[in-house]
């Protein structure tokens, strides 16, 4: 109701007194039509909002789901496959897949058998921009082919652009099997590892690649 009044007010304000006189008889009809038109707009606005709910829900679905909810325990094989003191690459199939994923549902990780039941399972993805890091047993380094990020054997940052060490999967030894908790692409936001156990940023304030790196290495491995 108030909107139709406003409409009339606007007309008046324009000072179209002549037009008002001429259309006095049509005015009543027009204001009703104008009202109905506005009502139809409002109706469509409401319907539009209702339609938007499922659309937004559909689009934002993957964004709203917690990453941890994708994770489940995956076996990487027998503990005996990983000799103590060595770091080896293992392939595994992502726990949640669909047919269309094809080979992209395959994944890989680096398993470091530290001693007896102590392991470290690193994501293949560099902590800088996600390229696949390679392990070089001779120099005991992980090297990234993209921007030259380097990590020591315990996954801590050695040099290059990464701001932190390699992502680590949570692991457990169940019976004779090494299991990791996997399911989502390891990135800074969807870290493979529990964020509570490892700080997000390991880089020391100050110049990167100076003695601070060395300190980081010694403190981490000690």
């Amino acid at each position: 109701m108030s909107t139709s009044k406003q409409h009339g007010g606007a007309e008046h304000a324009e000072g179209a007194a002549q037009a008002a006189e001429q259309t006095e008889s049509r005015g009543a009809v027009q204001s009703r039509r104008a009202f109905l038109f506005k009502l139809s707009l409002a109706l469509n606005g409401v319907v539009g909002a209702v339609v938007a709910v499922p659309i937004l829900g559909y689009i934002l679905g993957p964004a709203l789901k917690k990453n941890a909810s994708y994770n489940s325990w995956v076996s990487l094989g027998s503990v005996a496959d990983f000799p103590e003191g060595e770091t080896r690459m293992v392939d595994f199939r992502n726990p949640v897949t669909m047919v269309a994923d094809g080979m992209t549902a395959n994944s890989a990780c680096w398993v470091r058998h530290v001693e007896s039941k102590k392991f470290q399972v690193f994501a293949i993805n560099c902590a800088h921009l996600g390229c696949p890091v390679r392990w070089f047993p001779q120099s005991r380094l992980f090297l990234c082919p993209c921007h030259g990020g380097a990590y020591y054997e315990d996954g801590s940052r050695a040099s290059g652009p990464p701001e932190r060490g390699l992502f680590e999967y949570n692991y457990t030894v169940a019976g004779n099997h090494l299991m990791i908790e996997a399911g989502s692409l390891p990135t800074l936001a969807t870290e493979a590892c529990d964020r509570r156990t490892k700080p997000l940023v390991q880089i020391e304030p100050g110049a990167p690649g100076t003695s601070a790196d060395e300190d980081a290495n010694t403190t981490r491995s000690s």
Partner: protein, 506 residues
Amino acid sequence: MESQNTKKGAAIKLFDWFESRLGLAKPMIEAALHPTPARSASWWYVFGSAATVLLVLQVVTGILLGLVYTPSAGEAWSSLQFLNHDVTLGWFLRAMHGWGSDFMIAIVIIHMVQVFLFGAYKFPRELTWIIGVFLLLLTLGMAFTGQVLRFDQDAYWGLGIGASIISRIPIVGGPMVGLLLGGPIIGGPTLARFFALHVFIIPGTLLALVALHVWMVLKLGINEWPMPGRVVSKTSYLREYQEETHKNGVPFVPDAAWKDAVFAAAILLSVMACALLLGPIGPTGQPDPTIIQTAPKPDFAFLWIYAVLAYLPADMETPFLFIAPIVVIGGMLLLPLVAGEGEKHWSRRPVAVLMLAVIAVTLGTFTQLGTYTPWSPQMEAWSGDTIPTQYLEGRSPLERQGALVLQNKQCRDCHALGGEGGMRGPALDTIAARMTEDQMIRQVLQGGGNMPAYGKALSPAETHALVSFLMTLRGKDLQPAVDFSRTLTRADNGAAPPAASGEGAR
């Protein structure tokens, strides 16, 4: 004669039948004949129409590729192989689409540079420029999503890089990664998303904005040839332009249009020549995340971003990634609003010309660096590259052992010898002329300056051998590096200077 006349009459009748219902011919003829400033019927003004022609080529070849391409993460790669090898002329259509995309980016950028240099973005064409900026972004968006649809190793790891960048956004980073990938990993839904973007969303927006862009060119007229001293003012420009085009104007068709047509034909032929001679682009290896023997690289248009990400200091990267695009895009959008009046001629806009030169040199340098990625370690250099014979000739067993250590510990992945090997670290050919033995030992064991510490990866014997070998590397006539403080200490004690001892070690 008579039958010809009746035939002609019939044709006109048919035309009239349609025209009385469509009413399109009149405005189209008007648009074709719209007056253009005589000097603007120039070869400098052909890039916009060429970009539009390339867009049409991309749409047509894209639809044709869509007849075969399978947008499924499990099958996309093999459907491209099928297109390349089994479909008649499939390789050529792929090549046209791929090279057409490179040409389109190049032409769009040239068009933008021309518009900028000619001051064509100034009043009243500010909005035409602003929409043009969005057209550039959409063109780059097409290039990136197209690269993803070429679902190979580069595409897979490129998506990983995209996800890693987005994951750095505070708070919403995680959900945004989910939005990008359509799930927890790069997989089926990810490719489907990029397919929808590349085939429906971006092209739809692109076509709509191109229509607006062209509409505004028609409505506002083609920019006049800039003259030094002729200043754009909001109060008088429209009148001046009107007078100019009425006095010296020529109809767009045919006076200017023939140049557009010739250039567009030349561009189309060039795309075909590239497609024929250079073939389709990719796909590289299959997108299997367990195949890690790969050095993913973005397409040409994005190489400069790759380079920037390699050279930024680690702690500046995240702020830069999110602030720089806003500043750059915001600057481009605001340009016509800030500098909407004044001189158009480049000789009276030194700052604009200087800016353009700096941007061009910067982008060119970064792109050039991106073609050979000096920051990337050469992962096979340690086992594959040879040591120049002159570095081994006449060397002691210990020094040769050191050369082996240098190879076996992957030093060559980052350090070149004789021009072979990685370029991430400095070349070692003359290292002994720059570093003393002590400095080398410290650097090797403790690392620093972007080098990892090798203290745990080298035994004392290996370090000794390695440094002995490195001490022999000082080029032809260079003196070994000397620690001057040691000379002083030794001189105090009356001992021999260290240069002699360095010689002795050799």
